[in-house]
């Protein structure tokens, strides 16, 4: 009977039951690890979507020099940051740090983008890494001026990976 296998009548056999149950626990943990890896694989495959469609992100007059605006591109779950660094210069980057995807914010002096999680710093001009653990520059959002509006039209992550 099943219950006899899990609740042994003999004290000496308890050792077997305990080991078998511990082994079962370890194997279930292993299954959990596999599920985690499969989840990452599925997310990786789903992330390779079609090319992003352009999206209007701001009017040119809305943002003062040194101003910042947050927007989402190419999808609603992709936060980005738009900065006006000079009279006619706008730059935009993905807000996800290339280290562990924490949100980056402009520093008080507006000259760099900071990741507060592990103190990673990026240059505002081109998104390159200035300091800290991030391995790559911030993905740059390609901007296009259409009349008095700024449009995000693509993402340049600087890598050759598809």
């Amino acid at each position: 009977m099943l219950w006899r296998e899990e609740f042994s009548l003999h004290a000496a056999e308890e050792r077997y039951v305990a080991r078998r149950q511990f082994g079962k626990f370890l194997v279930l943990s292993s299954l959990g690890m596999l599920a985690g890896n499969v989840w990452i694989l599925v997310r990786s495959l789903l992330g390779r979507g079609p090319a992003p469609v352009g999206r209007a992100v701001a009017r040119t007059g809305d943002l003062p020099v040194g101003g910042v605006k947050l927007f989402r591109f190419p999808e609603d779950h992709d936060p980005c940051v738009l900065l006006r660094t000079a009279q006619d210069t706008y730059v935009a980057y993905s807000q996800k740090c290339t280290h562990l995807s924490c949100a980056v914010y402009p520093s008080n002096d507006g000259r760099r983008l900071e990741c507060p999680c592990h103190e990673g710093y990026f240059a505002v001009e081109d998104g390159r890494v200035l300091q800290g653990p991030p391995p790559r520059p911030l993905p740059r959002i390609v901007l296009e001026r259409r009349g008095d509006q700024l449009w995000a039209t693509g993402v340049d992550d600087g890598s050759t990976e598809s």
């Binding site: 194997v27 596999l34 290339t98 391995p135 990976e161």
Partner: protein, 82 residues
């Protein structure tokens, strides 16, 4: 005459060894998941597929060792032939 019971420690060493092997494989799998997650969050999607395959192989090895434990366990509990 009553049949003599087998020694209660029969097969325990083999079971302990198999459990130790499962634990080692599980630690490797944990490391693999951590490393894959870190590379995924850093924007690299390439390692996801090989990592999933290796993780599946490790799980299969763990499961095979568990089946080995089950078999040993059953054999140890089986009453001796009269």
């Amino acid at each position: 005459m009553t049949p003599t019971r087998r020694p209660p420690t029969r097969g325990l060493t083999a079971i302990d060894g198999a459990i130790a092997l499962i634990a080692v494989l599980l630690i490797v799998q944990m490391w693999l998941l951590t490393a894959t997650l870190e590379t995924f969050l850093a924007g690299h999607r390439g390692p996801a597929l090989p990592a999933a395959i290796v993780s599946a192989v490790l799980f299969a090895a763990c499961f095979a060792l568990y089946l080995f434990i089950e078999r040993l366990d059953r054999a140890s509990r089986r009453p001796p032939p009269a």
